[in-house]
Structure formats: C-alpha cells, structure tokens
C-alpha cells in the first residue's frame, strides 16, 4: 500500500515535468517569425500565364511607434515618412511556386489570417482568376469575408500607394470599399459572395474596380491616391467589362444592396433612409419577364428652388426620384445585356420560381439573357423635409 502511494507521487511529479515541456502545440508560431499579410495582390501575365504575387505585409514595430507618436499614418521619423508596410513581389508559374521563390529573400513566413483585400491586376482579371479561387477554396486559412478588388493597373501598383488616414494601406482600401458600399455607390464583394456567384452557372461575379489618381500637394509635390472607379463584371472567372458609376448604382438597387446614400434629382437632393427591392420573374407564353420592384423612402436634404413646401412639390420630387432610380437600373440592365453577363442573378430568380422550366433554360441562358424583358417599378416616398417648411428666400 505504501509503495503504491509512493508510485502515485512519482507519477504526479513526472506528469508535471512532462506538462512543462508539452505546453503548446506543434504548430505554435511566434509573432516575430510571421509576416502578417494585410493585402495580397495577384497579377497574371496574359501571354505566359505566369503569376506575380505581391504581399503587402505589416511591419509591427513601426505601427506601434507611429501610434505612440500620435501621428497615425502621417507619423514622421527623422523627416522620413514611417514605413508601416512592406511590399514583396515574386513571379512564378503558380501561386505556390511564387511562395517557394519568396523564401529566397523573405525572412518571415506570410500569414494570411488578417488579410483585408485581394487585389487583382486588370490583365490578370481578364485572363481569368480560377487558380486563385481554387487555392482559396482549398486553403483552410483563407477567410470567407476578405474583400475582392480589381485594380485598373497592376495589383502591385495599387498595393504600394500609401494613402489616407490608415497606417496600413490595405486596411484603408478595405474601409474605402466598405464605405462606398454603405453609401450604395459600389458593391463590396467578399470572397464568399464571389465564390457563390461563380458556383451558380448563370450569375456573373462582380467586384469593385480601384484606380490610382494623382493630386498636387501644398508644396507642389505629387500625392498618389486610390479611388473606386466602377464595378468589374466577370463571366465565369474572366473579367469582361466594367460598369460605370451610374450603372453600379442601378445594379445595387436591383440586387437589394441599397441601404443608405444620396440621390440627386434636378430639383432636389435627398437622403435614402430605407430601400427594399424584389425581383419577380414571370414566364409568359415562352418569354421571360423580370419585374424589379423597388420601395424607397428618403428625406429631403436640399431643395434647389425657392418655393414653399407643398404637397404637389413633394409628389413631384417622389416622381422624379422614381424616374431617376428607374433610369439607373435601366442603365445597368442595358450594360449587362451588352456584356451578356447576368450580374443581377435573374437566372437564379427564375430558377427559384420555375425549377422545372429552369432545367431547359439553364444551358441556353446566354442566348436568352440579352433578350429578357425587364420592367422596373419604383415606389418612392419623401419622409421628412428638414427643419424648415418654407423657403428662406423667395424668387
């Protein structure tokens, strides 16, 4: 009995010692051995199919010191702008070939858990990004809510533009996209949404397009900035065209992505406070009619005339808004017809309602799509007119 007791004590000591050495898992990775990738750029050479990956990585020490200086992104150290990000670029035949080359000069392993944006170069997007989509779908580290962006130039150019209020450019870029989506200008498309659009055989994937523009600073120096310029339209994994600002808004109205934003009509400016849209497909004697029903409510921000408010004026504004929204949607529809890309998911809407007929329609959707009849019905309502109900200055 006594021996057994001793045994137990020895065992306890042994286990305690073992536990000391076994803390943590095999995969433990220390922060100072990782390069945290904030943005990943993806360029493809159209002729050779060679892939160039651009990693925008965060330099953690610099972020901490810039925060300490209270300077944010504009922090300065000895007259030099702070380097909060580092760009690394490599070319190879496939993404993992690129990664193997990266190890020839990189000191830390890229770590993708905090990636904010995937940027695709224009040529690469036109060439097709299936290689990217496949690697991301397989990779357990890839997060589904990373934003997708197409760059007007090369992805590596965009990722190098240090701009704005954020110290890490990719974070700033993600915020720009989110803000433009919140104000219903351009869609914010996550990897998950892109994958889902591509998995539907008819719906065309979309992504915002970002371009670079130059501004002259106070001392005459050139400052590079980035801005969203349109919505890229894909057919399958290949980009085939771009929607402009007006068409992008129309697209958002049709796919029920409008939440708030501003709407401009000849006589007034209004703020959208509530918006809802619905796609109603109908098969009638062999032809397909899609009705987009939009309900919108808005508040008056600016009235450009000098009249006092009256019911006629309000109903006139409501009507003008409805016309404006309808024309935006029509513009998007026309553009998508000319590209023959179902950016709205009309096909899926038909599928949801007419699943039997859809089996015959799906294979020839490309032939049907440009000849769809699309009707837009908009109901608008002006909720508020602001703090005054008469004009400040009469004519």
């Amino acid at each position: 009995m006594k021996r057994l007791k001793h045994c137990k004590i020895y065992l306890a000591i042994l286990l305690t010692i073992i536990a000391l050495f076994l803390s943590g898992c095999w995969d433990s990775r220390e922060l100072d051995k990782l390069s945290i990738v904030s943005g990943l750029g993806w360029d493809i050479e159209p002729d050779t199919g060679e892939v160039t990956l651009t990693y925008q990585s965060i330099i953690p020490g610099e972020i901490a010191s810039s925060a300490g200086n209270g300077g944010g992104g504009g922090g300065q150290k000895g007259g030099e702008p702070l380097r909060t990000i580092q760009l690394d670029s490599d070319t190879g035949s496939s993404p993992y070939d690129v990664l193997s080359r990266y190890t020839q000069h990189g000191s830390r392993i890229p770590f993708y858990q905090h990636t904010q944006v995937y940027v695709f170069g224009w040529d690469g997007a036109e060439h097709g990004i299936y290689g990217f989509l496949d690697t991301q779908a397989r990779n357990p580290v890839a997060r589904p809510n990373v934003l997708m962006v197409v760059s007007e130039k090369k992805a590596s150019d965009i990722l190098g533009v240090q701009d704005g209020m954020e110290s890490i450019q990719a974070v700033g870029m993600a915020d720009i996209i989110k803000l433009s989506a919140a104000f219903s200008k351009y869609p914010a498309i996550t990897l998950l949404e892109f994958q889902n659009r591509i998995m539907s055989k008819t719906t065309a994937p979309i992504a915002p397009v970002i371009g670079i523009f130059e501004e002259t600073g106070v001392e005459g120096e050139k400052i590079k900035k980035i801005r969203i310029n349109g919505t890229a339209v894909f057919k399958g994994d290949k980009m085939i065209g771009k929607l402009n600002e007006r068409q992008s808004s129309g697209l958002l109205w049709a796919i029920d992505k409008v939440e708030k934003g501003y709407i401009d009509i000849p006589e007034a400016s209004l703020e959208i406070v509530k918006a809802k849209s619905r796609m109603v497909p109908e098969l009638r004697d062999g032809s397909i009619i899609i009705t987009i029903e939009i309900d919108e409510e808005s508040n008056l921000l600016e009235y450009k005339g000098h009249q006092d408010m009256n019911p006629d004026l309000i109903s006139k504004m409501e009507k003008a808004q409805a016309e404006e929204i309808e024309s935006q949607v029509k513009a998007a529809v026309q553009k998508s017809f000319s590209l023959n890309a179902d950016v709205f998911g009309f096909g899926e809407a038909v599928h949801r309602k007419y699943k039997k007929e859809w089996k015959a329609l799906e294979p020839k959707w490309d032939d049907i799509y440009p000849y769809l009849e699309v009707a837009v019905k908009v109901k608008t309502h002006v909720n508020e007119i602001g703090d005054v109900n008469k004009a400040l200055m009469k004519d």
């Binding site: 995969d27 994958q195 699943k355």
Partner: protein, 366 residues
C-alpha cells in the same frame, strides 16, 4: 456478478443521446448529398432514425435491464448468440474508429496542421478511457454539462449568423431528384440518427427502465431539430459552398462578424467536436468493452479498455488514406454498411424473440 453498478436517469440518458447524435455531425451536418435541400434530407433521416429507435427500444422493453449481448444469448442460444453479439460489437468498435478518424482529420486540416494525428488521438483516447473506466454513470453525468454547454454554443452561433442568412439560398425547395433526396435522407438516418442503436448497450442501466424509450425519442427529436436548423443555416449562409465544403459548419462560423469585433470565433465549432466527439467515442468504447466482457464472462471490463482503445486508434489511423476517401465512405458505402447493424440485428432479434415467445420468465429477472 454485475459488470456495471452505475445507474443512469432518463434525463441524463436524453442528454447523452443528444451529445451522441451531435458527435461529429455537428461539424459535418448530414444530408449534404441533397445540395441545398439537405435540411429536408435531415428531416427524412430523423424520421427513419425514429423508426430505427422504435425497433431497438421495443427490444429493450421486451428484455428489461439486459444489454444486446445478453439478449442475443437468450434469443439465439450460446453459439449463434455469440456470433450476433460479435457482429454488433464489431460495429460499435468500427464506428468508434470512424468517429475518431473524422475527428482527427478535422483537427489536422483546420486547427493543428503540424501535430501528428497519433498524438491528438492518443490524448483523446486517454480521456475517454479514463471516463469509461469509471462507468456509464460518469459518462452520463458528463453529458449533462457538456450537452447543455454545446447547445448554448450552437444557439449563439446561429443567432450570430442571422445577419448573414440569405433565405434565397434555400430556394427552390426540392430541387434535387426524389431518389437523390431519399438517398441523402437514408444517409442522414445511418449517420448519425441510426447510430443510436449503440444505446442497446446502455439502456440496460436505467434506474427506471420504462423511461428509456421516451429519453431516446426525446433526445433524437431535440438533436434532430438542432441538426435541421444547423443544416438549413449553413446552406442559407454559405450558398453553394455549403454543398462542396468538407466542414460547412466551421466555414459558416468563419463568416461570423459582429461589428468587426466579435469575429474569428470558428474555433468554438472545434470545441463542439472535442466535447461531443468525446461523448460519442466514450459511449462506443464503453459498449465495445462491456460487450466483450459479457461475451467472455469477465468479472470486469476495465482491463479491456486500454487494449480496445489502442486498437480503435490504430484502425482510425489506417482505415482511410485521405479525407476524400472518408467522405466517399460516409456518403456512398456507410448508408449500406450500417443497415445490418442498425436495423438488421435489432429487428431480427425482436422478430425471433416474438416467435419464440421470449422472455418466458418475465423481463425483470437479473
């Protein structure tokens, strides 16, 4: 001679059934073969599962306080009864190794890519073995706490995913051919609902034997309802990706993003698997060793725990060479393979017992 002195209450059994059904299905909800109609397949599977449960609870009502091994020897006699018991024990053992395989593949792919599979499995098996050694009562009491905890996690997971749900992803309803839907439904019945046939080794130890059926049915209905919700949620959140992903619940949890602060919580889904997998493997290991001990008339099942546990780990490590093989097995072979064990043995035994008008001396004899 009593191999098991512990007693399980009806409520504990219900919690244990819920935990057992969740097992590995909580990360890979069944019925995926039916595409976005998977939730309907799970519903059909639940119905079939209830039917299976009706068969084996009828058997235990007939022979109260007897495990399937004892029932077999009563019904078929010594030799044939032992053969039947051996088949059933093989199923419990093999199912245990399948769950281990599923468990370790998930962890190896998503959470611990560099940790050797053996280490993950041995650590899990040590915990299971020590629990099984303390008897069914301890497993059942564990299940109360763990299942309540997991239900809480699943509910909060689902609530956090509500903003990301797009019900259009579930339309059109019944998009797949009927045969495919039925096959998916049967698949959902065999994994996980029908697997509750393993409780033929546990139902004997209820403190009130008449509460057994209601606990099994109650557990199946609760777990089935939660699984239907999870499956529909995954399809609604992930769209088409839910039908091609190996671990859709994990992927769905990656989408959770409450105000950009409460995010990256997918590891919580891994906790579901750790705890529920532990319960399921414990029950299966317990059934296997208790069955073996009863077949060989041992005085205790405890010496068998470690050897059987080690064998289970070895089979788990060697039976599939990659995840694709495992998924193919679950979707294509397992629904057929499981039928003789989940339906066959209990049903035949029940029929033979009725024909032989057993038990003749009343069910309560120990």
């Amino acid at each position: 001679m009593l191999l098991e002195k512990g007693k399980v209450s009806g409520f504990q059994l219900k919690a244990l059934v819920i935990g057992f059904v969740f097992g590995s299905s909580v990360i890979t909800p069944p019925g995926i073969v039916a595409g976005h109609d998977a939730w309907i397949a799970v519903f059909l599977g639940l119905m079939e599962g209830l039917l299976i449960a009706w068969i084996f609870t009828a058997l235990t009502r007939q022979f109260q306080n007897k495990t399937i091994v004892e029932i077999n020897s009563l019904v078929y006699g010594k030799i044939l009864g032992t053969c039947m018991s051996a088949l059933f024990i093989w199923y419990l053992f093999h199912l245990g190794s399948l769950v281990l395989d599923h468990y370790v593949r998930f962890f190896n792919l998503e959470v611990y890519p560099a940790t050797p599979k053996t280490i993950i499995l041995v650590l899990l098996m040590l915990v299971c073995a020590s629990t099984v050694g303390r008897g069914i009562e301890v497993i059942a009491r564990c299940s109360l706490i763990l299942t309540a905890f997991i239900l809480l996690i699943v509910v909060s997971d689902t609530l956090l995913l509500i903003p990301h749900i797009d019900l259009n992803n579930l339309l059109p309803v019944l998009d797949v051919p009927a045969s495919q839907l039925l096959w998916a439904g049967h698949g959902a019945a065999s994994f996980p609902f029908g697997e509750t046939a393993a409780f033929l080794m546990v139902l004997a130890f209820l403190n009130k034997s008449e509460s057994g059926s209601s606990a099994i049915f109650g557990g199946l209905l609760t777990a089935g309802f939660v699984l239907i919700v999870i499956t529909a949620r995954n399809a609604a959140v992930l769209g088409g990706l839910a039908t091609i992903s190996n671990y859709p619940s994990y992927l769905a949890a990656q989408v959770i993003d409450a105000g950009e602060i409460f995010t990256r919580v997918e590891v919580v889904v891994a906790i579901n698997l750790i705890t529920m997998g532990f319960l399921k493997i414990s029950v299966l290991l317990y059934g296997t060793v208790l069955g073996l001990a009863q077949v060989f008339n041992f005085h205790s099942y405890r010496p068998l725990i470690l050897p059987v546990g080690i064998l289970m780990v070895i089979v788990a490590l060697t039976e599939h060479t990659n995840t694709f093989e495992m998924i193919e097995f679950i979707n294509k072979s397992y629904p057929v393979y499981a039928v003789p064990f989940q339906i066959g043995i209990p049903l035949i035994t029940l029929v033979v017992a009725k024909l032989r008008k057993l038990p003749q001396t009343g069910g309560n004899q120990l």
